[in-house]
């Protein structure tokens, strides 16, 4: 999977979790760009990424995910 494809899949996840069907993300997208991205959404995004990519994120990321770049580092 290319980096572009990964970002597209992550974008789908953000759209579902936050209910923002038109949302566009880049690898620079972060908490600061999105008022709905609160502490609850953080956990939900991580859980959704884990399910979609069949991976398991470290505890630190579950609590403190801040950016799409952090997610990309987790992906195989």
């Amino acid at each position: 999977m290319t980096r572009e494809e990964k970002i597209t899949r992550l974008q789908d996840i953000f759209r579902d979790v936050l209910d923002r069907p038109e949302l566009r993300i880049t690898e620079n997208f972060s908490v600061a760009d999105c008022p709905e991205w609160d502490s609850v959404a953080t956990v939900q995004i991580v859980l959704a990424v884990e399910a979609a990519f069949n991976i398991r994120a470290p505890t630190e990321v579950v609590a403190n995910l801040r950016s799409v770049r952090q997610l990309l580092e987790l992906l195989p």
């Binding site: 579902d16 979790v17 209910d19 502490s39 939900q44 859980l47 505890t59 630190e60 579950v62």
Partner: protein
């Protein structure tokens, strides 16, 4: 089956909901979204629904939806549970307004009469805490928690208190702890068997990482199981338990189509894997019937063909297991309406089971009050699908539950007799009805509580008294109670009616001669037999012995009890007032004017 051949049921419902929303059709969007929750729902589906609702309705209940104040509290975080609760309550047709609990302050919230929780006035309060809360000295913990529970039993609406889920080690201590907790909880509090939810979720119940990261327990998967349990207990407390299961025949109860494959070509029984799974499903339906669920058939078929299958094939289910049966080629939603009418049970107590996605979609669209679980193409999964939804979970199982099916069948014999009788009097006289009656006792408490919580139609006040209130009534000399047990030539109807009368407060030296009817209700299975006349006569006789001079009756209208609106005037009561706000009506009867009502019931000794 891979994703390419079976598109994700939830994802396609969500996509349709978004399309409708984009076209500004909000009711249509919500309907599509809700249908998506009829399939298997995972945590992320629930999150998507909760976010959709938040953005679509700005967190306001959709027009016409009941909103209920709900508090989720406990020592740990409950924020990740709220989307699950929001989504599944939406599926159930109501809208929680959540209490925003300050983290870690649940005990103060319960104990302090001026707390935010008390000011919020919850109608339902759900407590969540895991075994971790008990700490090293479980006994001291339990004592403190029981004291909290006692405070929580007042002023927090319906309270749902958890047993402990079980840690992998030291399990026995917690099993014992649960026994003590359950035995000592105040009777008005509903016990939540967290250990049962845990065992249903299996290994998935725990997520140590979520606990360490955000103090969330149970896991995302476990929270679905937990909320399903909570909502089932809430439905049971509110008297909204489903009562009727409607099943299709072809490709549902058996594999194949009788019209095409013939009676002998159908898959049922142990000879084929498909037949085996159908047999297991039929066995499950029989277990539901034994718990008091009414089984009914609604099938597009030739009636004679369908009957032939039950005659010639050896199956667990027999024709007699069904309390009602409609086999024809008419539209199924019309047939469901007929079934509701013939059973005298409203459609919001129905569960519709059909292998055909088009039939399911049509029923969902036309009759949104009917529950329509989405069935996979694998019949072997259907039992779990129905079990996970907990449609038929009740708080207690009584003798009447087990006998309900026989009672409904007897009703059909009565209907046949009514049809052949020359007049109503002729029919009622021919029934040879006998009634035992007497005050509430500990022996009939479970059934009394159930009648109060479930009876919606023939019920003048629809007051849902709890066990503790009933206990208080029984020992209070200013309250009179009575239950009625009706039998006739076709069988035993069980305990099917009750009234509660309360004496108004008197002056210092004299007792009041004014009495009020707190509750007066009858199970819908005996409507039309004149039992209410008999019950009224016992009320008058009992009150005369107590020196009553005035009797006040109240009618509290609901969506379901319009048939009793004229009850008091018919008995000679005068209207005293009508409150504008909730349409409650009060009536008065002077006891000297009370007339003995005519009926066809003979009485026997007190029950």
């Amino acid at each position: 089956m891979n994703e390419a051949t079976q598109p994700d049921y939830f994802a396609s419902a969500l996509a349709r909901a978004r399309t409708r929303r984009a076209a500004n059709d909000i009711p249509g969007a919500l309907r599509e979204l809700r249908s998506g929750l009829d399939g298997k729902v995972d945590y992320l589906n629930a999150v998507a629904v909760a976010s959709f609702l938040k953005n679509t309705t700005q967190n306001n209940p959709p027009a016409g939806w009941p909103a209920v104040h709900v508090a989720l509290i406990g020592p740990d975080s409950v924020e990740l549970l709220k989307p699950v609760f929001r989504a599944l309550a939406f599926r159930d047709g109501w809208w929680p307004i959540f209490y925003d609990a300050p983290y870690g302050a649940w005990a103060q919230d319960i104990l302090d009469p001026n707390s935010g929780l008390r000011a919020f006035k919850p109608e339902a309060t759900f407590i969540l805490r895991s075994w971790r809360a008990a700490g090293a000295d479980a006994e001291i913990y339990l004592r403190d928690e029981l004291s909290l529970a006692t405070h929580a039993s007042q002023g927090l609406g319906m309270v749902f208190w958890p047993g402990f889920d079980l840690p992998r080690e030291n399990t026995k201590t917690f099993v014992t702890l649960n026994e003590h907790l359950r035995a000592d909880l105040p009777p008005d509090i509903t016990w939540v068997d967290l250990a049962e939810a845990q065992s249903l979720a299996g290994e998935d119940w725990d997520d140590e990482r979520l606990w360490q990261a955000v103090k969330q327990h149970p896991s995302a998967a476990g929270s679905i199981v937990l909320v399903e349990l909570w909502l089932a207990l809430l439905r049971a407390r509110q008297g909204r338990v489903r009562k009727v299961l409607v099943t299709d025949l072809d490709d549902t109860l058996w594999g194949g189509t009788v019209g095409e494959d013939g009676v002998d070509g159908l898959h049922i029984g142990k000879n084929t894997p498909d037949g085996e799974s159908r047999t297991a499903f039929q066995d499950y339906l029989i277990s539901l019937k034994n718990r008091g669920v009414l089984l009914t058939v609604c099938s597009k078929n030739n009636d004679a063909d369908a009957l032939e299958v039950f005659k010639r094939r050896n199956m667990p289910l027999k024709r007699d297991d069904f309390a009602a049966w409609i086999v024809n080629w008419n539209d199924k939603t019309e047939n469901l309406r007929s079934l509701a009418k013939s059973l005298n049970v409203s459609l919001d107590a129905f569960v519709f089971v059909d292998n055909d996605p088009a039939e399911r979609a049509r029923v969902r669209e036309t009759l949104p009050e009917v529950a329509v679980p989405e069935l996979s193409s694998h019949p072997s999964e259907w039992i779990a699908t129905l079990r996970n939804r907990r449609f038929f979970d009740t708080l207690t199982l009584t003798k009447e539950d087990a006998n309900r099916h026989a009672a409904y069948q007897a009703n059909q014999q009565r209907a046949a007799m009514a049809a052949s009788s020359t007049s109503l009097e002729d029919f009622l006289r021919g029934l040879d009805m006998v009634c035992e009656h007497g005050p509430f006792t500990p022996d009939n408490f479970a059934r009394v509580e159930q009648l109060l919580s479930r009876t919606n139609q023939w019920n003048l006040t629809t007051r849902r008294h709890t066990r503790a209130q009933l206990d208080a009534f029984r020992t209070n000399p200013n309250v009179l109670t009575h239950v009625f047990h009706l039998r006739d030539r076709f069988g035993d109807n069980g305990l099917v009616g009750l009234w509660i009368a309360t004496q108004r407060p008197g002056s210092a030296n004299t007792a009041s001669t004014d009495w009020e009817i707190d509750s007066f209700l009858m199970s819908c299975r005996v409507i039309g037999r004149g039992l209410e006349q008999f019950m009224f006569n016992t009320l008058v006789e009992t009150l005369r012995k107590r020196g009553a001079k005035h009797l006040f009756g109240t009618y509290i209208p609901t969506a379901k009890n319009t048939q009793v609106a004229g009850f008091f005037p018919k008995l000679g009561f005068q209207t005293t007032s009508e409150k504008a706000e909730d349409k409650t009506q009060t009536f008065l009867l002077t006891m000297v004017a009370a007339k003995s009502q005519h009926h066809y019931i003979s009485q026997t000794a007190a029950c």
